[in-house]
């Protein structure tokens, strides 16, 4: 291992790191915004569920490398465009979260919803103030899986030329230089670990009632 390589290339590594985060995290945010209304539909209407859940399952089955390659043809983007990776990972995030959101909302106790209705909550306010917060623990669990797998998946994009830190893998392979590859692996795992821990903390902050302990069962 030639560790001096890291400080000598720190500028480029940071650029790749930022690109990596951009490619991995935009899909998490966009995916969440799309998955909440879709998951709500699926939890509310049986026909919507019968379409959305299997469709999500099928989309999740499509291998990422395949999706990275096919998307330029469908979107009309250049193959080296970051958009392909972002759209592909957004699709996975939505596919994963729709199910999570639907299950989480379905698990909100009926009595709580009835109590909120009796207090005068209209459906939209009730959804935002009561049902969604109660779904947060399950939602966070889904977001953690999506974030960690996105951070890991971005690197596959290096095979088609856009892969954030994954570019250290393809370049390290061409140059027969293990240091570069180890650096990439360690940084990606660190990013995933930090993202996971941040979401875990966010979940704790967002659900103060769960720390009170007694009475609430997830």
């Amino acid at each position: 291992m030639v560790w001096q390589w890291i400080p000598r290339n720190s500028e480029r590594i940071i650029l790749l790191l930022v690109e990596h985060l951009r490619l991995a995290l935009i899909p998490v945010v966009v995916g969440l915004l799309l998955a909440v209304p879709l998951g709500w539909l699926a939890s509310r209407y049986r026909p919507a569920r019968a379409v959305l859940i299997p469709a999500a399952g099928v989309l999740y089955t499509v291998p990422s490398l395949a999706l990275f390659v096919v998307l330029p043809g469908i979107l009309g983007t250049r193959i080296l465009s970051e958009v392909n990776i972002i759209v592909a990972l957004t699709i996975y995030t939505v596919a994963l979260l729709v199910r999570t959101v639907a299950d989480a909302l379905a698990a909100v106790p009926g009595l709580v919803v009835a109590a909120a209705t009796a207090l005068g909550y209209k459906p939209v306010r009730r959804f935002i103030d009561v049902e969604l917060p109660l779904a947060v623990p399950v939602l966070i669990a889904g977001l953690r899986v999506a974030t960690v797998s996105n951070i890991s998946l971005v690197s596959v994009g290096a095979l088609i030329g856009v892969g954030g830190l994954g570019e250290l893998f393809t370049e390290g392979f061409q140059l027969n230089f293990p240091t570069e590859i180890v650096t990439g692996i360690v940084l990606i795992m660190l990013l995933a670990l930090i993202g996971d821990a941040l979401l875990l903390g966010l979940g704790r902050i967002a659900t103060p009632w769960s720390r009170a302990g007694a009475g609430t069962r997830a």
Binding site: A66, Y92, T100, S149, L159
Partner: protein
């Protein structure tokens, strides 16, 4: 000619269905890499998950391993192994094996762990030894979750086996990597379609298998205990 027509033309060309670089040969290679890694992963993960689930010892370790491995970038691992051991089947098999272990381990562990304690006690009550309790009661009850883990593992391994083409191995990934190198877009799309189709077909077959071999006793009262303990998310990314 639009892309759709070009891809159809690619599939219609009989040349692409013959010889050692034709679709059937690449498909066979892809299935061979997948099967080899899955069998090895199952041999490691199912006994380990069963023992940890049965005794409850080491579950902290298991969750840590399963989560840590999910963050591991397979492409990086594969390339690192190639640089260390040389090009061949070994680096790809090890990479796919490491990918397949966590879902199988988590599924087996959760299935055994979540077996209804009353049923397990009853098994002990009728005089079964611990070994029998695990093999004849807990594992059959765990079967739906074990197969769930196998399905996740299979999907991920099929998807990731495509990157083997990057280190000069065969498999359906060849069409992607060669198409990219030659700027032959229809070939890349054909490869992508083939890999996705393979994943979907295998997923359908495994879902059918699950229905066939899971005990009818479990089917009539689905997830009775599961309503209290939510099934852990054993999903992961596909590469």
């Amino acid at each position: 000619m639009n892309l759709f027509a070009e891809v159809l033309a690619w599939f219609a060309d009989p040349q692409h269905w013959q010889g050692s670089s034709g679709v059937p040969a690449r498909l066979a290679e892809h299935l061979r890499y997948t099967a080899l890694a899955l069998v090895l992963a199952a041999v490691i993960a199912i006994p380990l998950g069963a023992v940890i689930g049965h005794t409850g010892r080491g579950s902290f370790l298991l969750v840590g391993i399963a989560n840590g491995l999910r963050a591991l970038p397979e492409l990086g691992l594969l390339i690192l192994l190639v640089l260390l051991t040389g090009i061949g089947l070994l680096p790809l098999t090890v990479t796919l094996l490491i990918l397949g272990v966590p879902p199988l381990l988590a599924g087996t562990y959760a299935g055994v762990r979540n077996a209804d304690p009353a049923v397990v006690d009853a098994a002990r009550g009728v005089g079964m030894r611990e070994r029998e309790v695990l093999l004849k009661v807990e594992l059959p009850i765990a079967l739906p979750l074990i197969i769930g883990g196998l399905r996740t593992a299979t999907l991920q391994v099929i998807a990731t086996a495509a990157i083997g083409a990057y280190i000069s191995l065969g498999g359906l990934g060849r069409f992607l990597i060669d198409g990219l190198a030659l700027n032959d877009y229809p070939r890349m799309v054909a490869g992508a379609v083939l890999i996705a189709a393979l994943a979907l077909v295998v997923e359908g077959l495994l879902a059918g298998l699950q229905r066939l071999i899971v005990s009818p006793g479990l089917r009539t009262a689905p997830m009775r205990t599961g309503s209290r303990r939510p099934t852990p998310v054993v999903a992961g990314g596909t590469a």
